[in-house]
Symmetry: C2
């Protein structure tokens, strides 16, 4: 792959061909990336309910019809090959990691595409903020919390959050900039004391890398699209395919297309 | 009012004329009733975000355009006169209770209609369940919980839940029957130990009446549309008009119109 490609089609082509298998942060920066959850149709209704009832960590960008692997948000893409890495869980246990899921595909699979923090990070960057994990060349730290999701059928579990440190005086601006991107987690769920949401050690994230929180900064936490993976584990879903955290699906949608309308504009 | 009227238009007419000012439970049983929240337009975007981020207690049935008081879900109705009782809060304090809000109405008001438990109670009744508060001739008990809402701009607070006792062996059926009514709180948020969600005393509800929980029953808790009232109090919204709990807005929509589609039917 041309390392400086910013075109979603070219990048997906490089991923599909095996030329690129790394994280997707920073690739096609103007385009929406999504989390991936694929469940057998028997669980599709529960997963749809889970997302509808917990839209902050699990905002739906798209649900593909039964058996379909070409999403409307990237009609030339193939969900089975176009992510750099997949995880397969069986009854809550990680079965394997994979570069594609072509031979695992079944007609009864239903695919959920869930908004990703890269969208609001793009907005923060355009406003002049530097993400600490970018500055340190790391993946964003993600944590399991004590926040119970709203249960949905056989699905339950705790919210996963991602964390970025900011100065307290910047929190209002950070909230305001990220708020309109409801389909990409929107504004933070919490800021300040990590223990208030059940996080004991900031230096020991459950996924991603620890980053420096400098003196005079506070941790700011957002809902994270890795949450359904935690639900798969906690609820012991019989079979689920997800993306490797940080290795997202790159769509053809621009970030602006995810901005939520204000109520006066709605009718 | 004809006490046995089941027609939403007739009942609203009776309320509007002052002939009826009581609770709306049991009136027009086939029709959707809603919670009411009216905020000045300055707060409309925050309230829309609060509802979008907390759809279990605050599922939107309709948002009226700026200044409008005739909803699409009942085009012959008037939001300012057609509820039996209103509450007006200023900076988190109850200012007054009112039979109508005609003289309070302002061009910059934005009205939110939020789903109500009567919809899923109707479904439970049709399946043969008897609500305990109905059997005892009471209002459903409502409680403040320790469940933090997802913050939205200047709005934050804790979830209010309503409670109905059921036998543990009925909980699966109760969950299944109420689940499709996502716009009316859907399935329960919690069942069993009240303290797990911060409720100390079941016999001391914050709104409504205590009901008997018989030996061999457990309390089952649903998100409640009184939640925005608690948000108004906790966030000290400068000015908000809401319904008196139990005194809802009666729409022309049938309950079935609120049933959420399964994901396979969505596209």
């Amino acid at each position: 792959m041309n390392a400086i490609s910013t075109d979603p089609r070219e990048i997906r082509e490089a991923i599909r061909s095996g030329a690129y298998a790394g994280p997707t942060a920073g690739l096609a920066p103007d385009y929406v990336q999504t989390n991936l959850v694929i469940v057998p149709s028997d669980y599709a209704s529960d997963m749809a309910d889970l997302c509808a009832r917990n839209p902050v960590p699990c905002a739906l960008v798209e649900v593909l019809p039964h058996g379909r692997f070409t999403p409307a948000c990237a009609p030339d893409a193939d969900i089975r090959t176009d992510l750099p890495q997949y995880r397969v869980y069986r009854k809550g246990l990680l079965l394997e990691k994979r570069a594609d899921i072509l031979d695992l595909w079944r007609e009864d699979f239903v695919t959920f595409l869930i908004g990703c923090s890269y969208t609001f990070e793009h907005a923060l960057q355009q406003a002049g903020f530097v993400m600490r994990h970018h500055a340190e060349g790391k993946s964003v730290p993600m944590y399991r919390t004590a926040i119970n999701l709203m249960p949905a059928g056989r699905l339950w579990g705790h919210m996963i959050v991602s964390m970025r440190p900011f100065k307290p005086q910047d929190v209002d601006a950070v909230r305001e900039i990220t708020r309109p991107y409801r389909a990409a987690h929107g504004e933070p769920v919490h800021w300040g004391d990590p223990e208030a949401i059940g996080i004991r050690r900031l230096d020991r994230p459950d996924e991603g890398d620890a980053v420096t929180v400098e003196r005079g900064e506070i941790p700011v936490f957002w809902g994270c699209g890795v949450t359904p993976q935690n639900v798969a584990i906690e609820s012991r879903i019989p079979y689920v395919i997800v993306h490797e955290p940080g290795h997202m699906f790159i769509t053809n949608m621009h970030h602006e297309e995810l901005i939520s309308q204000s109520p006066s504009a709605r009718r």
